[in-house]
């Protein structure tokens, strides 16, 4: 049986707005195994972002346990949480959140800034990661000189900088056009296949979600439905539509020409 990287046990998160209490998450149980590519879907206000924040140690659950890599992070004080965020989690945001005054490579180096890596090690690693996301040669560009899709690739490279146990992506395709959407999701899928990176992606785009291996439908703070995605068959290098053999880098099935 695969080992769980991330597990929640009866997690609840309540927000207080004035006198009203809003139950964003209620007794949510979730397990993400190592090497999985999971999509969390749901309508607005279903608690997707809250869940991702709780999973990413950006927010604390009102109740329940969040076990990340064997550690209950819900119990940890803020003083220790930053190290978890730095070393175990990679974040990808809808709006990329690159620092505008830093170049692409400097943005990728940023998470390594507070680690023990030397300057040259950091630079080397950042260069490698930018190559991995297909941005070799654009290291010196500032975010405003990159397209939206390229910016998100830089953000993905940044998320990978400290070799996290899990990548949490919050609507990573939300600000992108159709072409770039598929580019990014394929990039994530390939990362998952090639490097075995565990990815949890929040999205409300069902088209995108089907490219993962497991889709969780979140409603009123609970997981209502679970569905298999196409990614599972892709992992076996088979076209999910016609079953013919495909390559990892293929954009479309060579046989049925469907978008992979």
């Amino acid at each position: 049986m695969s080992e769980a990287v991330l597990k929640t046990e009866n997690v609840s998160r309540t927000f207080t707005m004035g006198k009203r209490e809003i139950q964003a998450l209620s007794d949510l149980n979730l397990q993400v195994n190592k090497g999985e590519f999971v999509a969390i879907m749901g309508p607005s206000g279903s608690g997707k972002t809250t869940l991702l924040n709780v999973l990413g140690c950006l927010d604390k659950p009102t109740r329940g346990k969040v076990i990340l890599d064997g550690v209950d992070v819900a119990e940890l004080p803020e003083k220790k949480l930053y190290k978890i965020r730095r070393n175990k989690i990679g974040f990808i945001f809808q709006t990329f959140n690159l620092l505008p005054y830093l170049s692409a490579i400097e943005n990728v180096e940023l998470p390594m800034e507070c680690t023990k890596k030397s300057k040259s090690e950091r630079r080397e690693k950042a260069r490698k990661l930018l190559g991995l996301v297909g941005l070799s040669g654009r290291e010196g560009h500032r975010p405003q000189r990159l397209s939206a899709g390229e910016q998100q690739r830089v953000a993905i490279a940044r998320a990978l900088a400290n070799d996290p146990a899990i990548i949490l992506a919050d609507e990573p395709t939300g600000n992108l056009d159709t072409e770039n959407k598929y580019e990014i999701v394929r990039l994530l899928a390939n990362l998952n296949i090639n490097s075995g990176t565990t990815i949890v992606m929040v999205t409300h785009d069902s088209q995108i979600a089907t490219h993962t291996e497991r889709m969780l439908l979140l409603m009123d703070g609970k997981i209502k439905k679970e569905k298999q995605g196409l990614h599972l068959t892709k992992k076996k290098l088979m076209c999910p539509y016609c079953g013919s053999k495909i390559q990892v880098d293929d954009e479309r099935c060579p046989n049925c020409r469907k978008r992979l």
């Binding site: 950006l58 930053y82 190290k83 965020r85 730095r86 959140n97 620092l99 940023l110 800034e113 507070c114």
Partner: protein, 435 residues
């Protein structure tokens, strides 16, 4: 920062000039008092009041009429000196012969009443009794020798010349000049103490017997410096001289003291007003510096608060990718310090270049030197150094600059402390929502 650099510089400059002024006052007054004490026993007896100044006649009028406005040069027999010397209490009588030169300079003045030609004697011939005990004990000869030597006992056929005459005669030390047909060798040149415009007339000093010969006043003198045995004798001697010789104008140390005292009063007044201005200035300056410090801190505070607010999302991102509270706080502190450091360097540059102007603008004007004009009237002391002061020049020193730079860093840290702390406290989940 410019304020912080230029104000102290301005204050220091003002303090320095006031101090210089005070020192000059004190040394001048003590010099004068010393001078008065030295000459306390001196009774000056002149044959005429004041120094000679001949005005010319309206052009075209015959020259034999007594010159209009002119002072007749009067002489008395030198035997009068012997008579004065026999008065009880008189220690020494030093005779002088002062006579205007025959050579004159003239200049024409245009007035509504017509044009006047003013002719002035070119120089004064002063004959001095070159008795070595007189020369040693009394200041009877110019002391400010710039070339050659002083006159001494036994000198004859030689003279001491004021520097402004060397050009006219075209000679230097050792040169030969002709005065009223007699030739003299210049043995020394001195710088006249008196620089007032009306009295730029040159002077030559020579043995009194030479002077009598050359001026045709054999046996005559124009002035006696009478020295009493003791200060207490001065009044008595003065009374006797005034009663016996109505043609002599007598002045004593008391008259001179009076003029010095009135001068001292003016000095003191000016000094105290300068000091009060300075202390006012310092108060104002302190207020201005405090204001500048407070303003700087507040500006940094607001700028950094604004920055933190503007960059909430960035802070959220930094925290999400693993920056600790301390990382974030130090980041923003550093930014605040850098901001102020750059401002500080720019300010110091402005301050150094513009300190004189800025301190002048920021500080109330110091009216120390406006009054020095009144001292000029006391031409006797015109070159005593009091008036050699220029305006206060404010040049900030290195210490002030380093201090300002340190203050810049400190204020940057102080002003950004709270914003940085707030930034570090930002909850990432909330910060991410912030647009």
């Amino acid at each position: 920062m410019a304020i912080m650099v230029s104000i102290p510089a301005g204050i220091v400059a003002n303090q320095e000039s006031t101090q210089r002024l005070t020192e000059n006052f004190n040394s001048t007054i003590s010099n004068m008092q010393e001078e008065i004490n030295k000459t306390a026993t001196l009774i000056e007896c002149r044959t005429s009041s004041g120094q000679g100044m001949s005005f010319g006649t309206p052009s075209g009028t015959p020259g034999d009429r007594p010159s209009f406005g002119s002072r007749q040069e009067v002489f008395v027999s030198e035997t009068v000196g012997d008579e004065i010397g026999s008065i009880e209490g008189v220690k020494d009588v030093v005779p002088f012969l002062e006579k205007s030169s025959n050579e004159t300079t003239s200049e024409t003045m245009n007035t509504p009443r017509g044009s006047f030609t003013i002719s002035r004697p070119l120089y004064t011939i002063t004959g001095v009794c070159l008795n070595s005990s007189f020369i040693d004990n009394y200041s009877i000869l110019p002391t400010n020798i710039t070339g050659g030597r002083k006159l001494r006992e036994g000198d004859s056929g030689v003279l001491l010349m004021s520097s402004n005459l060397t050009i006219y005669f075209g000679v230097g030390v050792g040169g030969k000049v002709w005065i009223n047909g007699e030739s003299f060798v210049v043995v020394g040149i001195y710088e006249p103490a008196n620089q007032s415009r009306m009295e730029t007339r040159g002077e030559v000093y020579m043995n009194i017997s030479d002077a009598q010969t050359v001026t045709g006043q054999t046996g005559n003198v124009s002035r006696f410096d009478v020295y009493a045995e003791d200060v207490s004798d001065v009044d008595g001697i003065t009374n006797v001289i005034e009663a016996a010789y109505s043609e002599l104008y007598v002045t004593t140390y008391k008259d001179r003291l009076q003029s010095v005292q009135s001068m001292q009063e003016r000095y003191t007044q000016t000094l105290s007003s300068a000091e009060s201005t300075l202390s006012q200035t310092q108060t104002v300056a302190t207020q201005e510096i405090i204001l500048a410090v407070v303003a700087t801190s507040l500006i940094v505070l607001f700028v950094m608060l604004y920055t933190v607010r503007e960059r909430t999302k960035e802070i959220g991102t930094l925290k999400a990718i693993g920056f600790s509270n301390w990382n974030v706080m130090s980041q923003f502190m550093l930014e605040g310090i850098m901001l102020n450091l750059v401002a500080g360097i720019v300010g110091i540059a402005i301050g150094s270049i513009g300190a004189p102007i800025l301190s002048g603008l920021l500080l109330p004007s110091m009216n120390l030197f406006g009054q020095s004009g009144s001292f000029r009237a006391d031409s006797q002391f015109a070159n005593s150094g009091v008036f050699g002061l220029g305006a206060a020049t404010a040049t900030p020193d290195l210490q002030t600059m380093l201090l300002a730079l340190g203050a810049a860093i400190l204020l940057g840290a102080l002003g950004s402390l709270y914003p940085a702390w707030r930034a570090s406290r930002t909850r990432p989940a909330e910060a991410m929502r912030y647009e």
